[in-house]
Symmetry: C2
Subunit: 101 residues, 2 copies
């Protein structure tokens, strides 16, 4: 983007909602979250088997979900167990509910 001289300010909720929406804006990430919800948790490797995508690509998607706060990782050497971050998940849920009334 070229600018902006006076950057736009949005309400906190607006920004938060947009951030969550962005994390959900790719079918693979939706599918990952659905899978996670079903299994309650999973390892990166599981997803690599489930989706026809390179391991690095899966890792990127997980990173984005983690940055958005929707998931969290826990080291279970030598693997990493990913789970839904319930607290932020509920925050997102509430924000979407409010948004749609």
């Amino acid at each position: 983007m070229k600018r902006n001289l006076e950057p736009i300010t949005y309400k906190a909720d607006t920004k938060a909602l947009a951030k969550f929406a962005k994390a959900l804006a790719h079918p693979t990430r939706i599918a990952i979250l659905n899978y996670l919800d079903k299994q309650s948790c999973c390892f990166t490797g599981d997803l690599v088997d489930v989706f026809p995508l390179a391991q690095s690509t899966i890792s990127q998607h997980l990173k984005e979900l983690k940055n958005a706060g929707l998931i969290q990782g826990e080291l279970k050497s030598p693997k990493i167990k990913y789970c839904i971050n319930q607290e932020n998940w509920n925050t997102a849920k509430t924000l979407f509910q409010q948004f749609f009334e």
Copy 2:
């Protein structure tokens, strides 16, 4: 993106949800929808006054919301009145509800 040889297939709901999420993945578009909801409808020009963005930029955001089906335009010469598309809005609402349980 570079590829994919065998493109991934997702469930219809997954794709639909990702598409709606993508439309919501920018704070300006969230704000536009909030504004639209308050006013029930509005003209492009109204938004240009509300947001410190070029008219063409606003128009682009409206186009994306329209492509996602969340809003619809009606010609009220010489202006265009934009409203929420209730049917698709409800579809989106349901998809997000289901997704978050």
